[in-house]
Amino acid sequence: MNKIFETPLYGYERSPDQDSPTPVRHKVIVIGAGPVGLAAAIDLAQQGVDVVVLDENDKVSFGSRAICFSQRTLEIADRLGCGRRLVDKGVLWDRGKVFFDDRQVYDFNLQPDEGYANPAFINLQQYHFENYFVERVRELQAEGAPIEIRGRNKVEAIGTHEDHVRLEVETPEGPYTIEADWLIACDGATSPARRMLGIDFEGRIFEDNFLIADVIMDADFPSERWFWFDPPFNRGQSALLHKQPDNVWRIDLQLGWDIDKEREKRPENVIPRLKAMLGDDVEFQLEWVSIYTFQCRRMESFRKGRVLFAGDSAHQVSPFGARGANSGLQDTDNLCWKLKLVLDGKAPETLLDSYNAERVYGADENILNSSRSTDFITPKSEMSRILRDAVLDLSEHYDFARPLVNSGRLSQPCTYDGSSLNSADALNGPAGTRPGSACPDAPLGDEFLLPKLAGKFTLLTIDADAPDTLEEDGIEVTRLALSVKDDMTLALKRRYLGDATSAVYLIRPDQHVAARRDSYEENTFRHAIRRACGKE
């Protein structure tokens, strides 16, 4: 086993809170130091919010779990100060192959379009991802930011009150009580917080078992995503092979529903399966093996008073679209600026209901995509198998059938169509930047657009006039003045103007478009700012 699993990253240390005669009140407590909890804490700490992360464990994720991180996640990680590290370590890939039965039916390239600072996807073990995020926490601490991770602090009970929450926490040195104005529950799929608050977790459940193996081998397979439907080495089922850093390869083998999990997990049963897939002559070592049963479901509401749910605690999907951690990061990206405004008294508490509305919308989109992939990968009836096989057979011969092949629709940033924070679209511009969209990146000479839009409200003007700053009821907005000439590749024009000759965009701190128009008009944009903060 890799040493990184075994080394405590945030070992238990006694906190002065444990010796306080009355419970200490923090601004925000986050339960869980998984990818989502860490992202939430870093985001808040960067905005100067006092935040404490409690985790019952003291190490990174055991085994690699998530491996595929999307461009949007990397953009969010850039804003959190850790994007570079992820990309430097990760395996870049944009190609894939699809196999059916004993043959390759086609190959694909994910990102023919250029002009983004970050790649379409990287593969990286979840433990590396978490490790870099913890590194970032340490940096922030060194800079004096109000952020703490407390390892081996297990939340045992949650009391909810009108204006705060109260937690009972178990530690190796006994229990203590701690309070917070707001609680973010990022405590994973089995979320004890959900249970403690007596909240149901319903939804469609897809029952199938997958053997997930990370193997270390010196193989010369390219760094592409290879997906098999009904291969000879796993008849009637699917298989996936994908490269991770450090010569680690992810293998997923679908096993079907009716299996003995404990038996299938034993090396003497796993190794022959892998040999059948990789060939007898390939030398490999098992890093990590597990059997998963995936489900698609979400909580009815991600907010309960002062408790906000984010990541796997709020929603789960099957892993074929890499939509787990990637959507969890979109949750905290959406939540943290809103929470900051509410904490500062600059926005009403109801702004947090838009977190629920927008991210429930995102979760439903993920569940829909993931359910459809599951239906394609695991046909539920004879006719659905016949149609599935027909699509695959046709895809070998004709381009038209390839978009119908569904081995996972990889995570894309969610567009919050219909959100109450959006203003009506007033630009005859590209659909990809309509209100609700996550801003696509664009090159600006040696630099890129997105870092200039991070963490604050921005008025992006392209060949249009507007004041350099604007304040509306405590919300400060700064202008970023650009011209189509700033990007000789014309990606900026393509993505933000389309047929229009000028544009003014109001962009939220999470880089989503709140409003757009062909020119500046004070009254319209003041309304748009109020709307984007839940004040209208």
């Binding site: 016949i386 096989d389 027909a390 046709l394 038209f400």
Partner: protein, 65 residues
């Protein structure tokens, strides 16, 4: 209904029908089912228009009067 054509539109109806039967001749049931499935997909792609496709699915279900 949209632009879905439900009035006679195939010029030599008997020829087409014979061709369809001939395509299935000698095939096992499984291969015939697969051929039909491929044919539906090829035709659907040719049509493309999603309202026509939706209407075609509804028409084929014979649930509308």
């Amino acid at each position: 209904m949209s632009d879905l054509i439900l009035t006679p539109n195939i010029k030599n109806a008997d020829d087409f029908y014979a061709e369809l039967l001939a395509a299935h001749e000698g095939l096992e049931k499984a291969d015939s089912d697969a051929l039909n499935a491929r044919l539906v997909l090829v035709l659907a792609n040719h049509i493309g228009d999603s309202t026509v496709l939706t209407d075609a699915l509804r028409a084929a279900a014979l649930t509308d009067s």
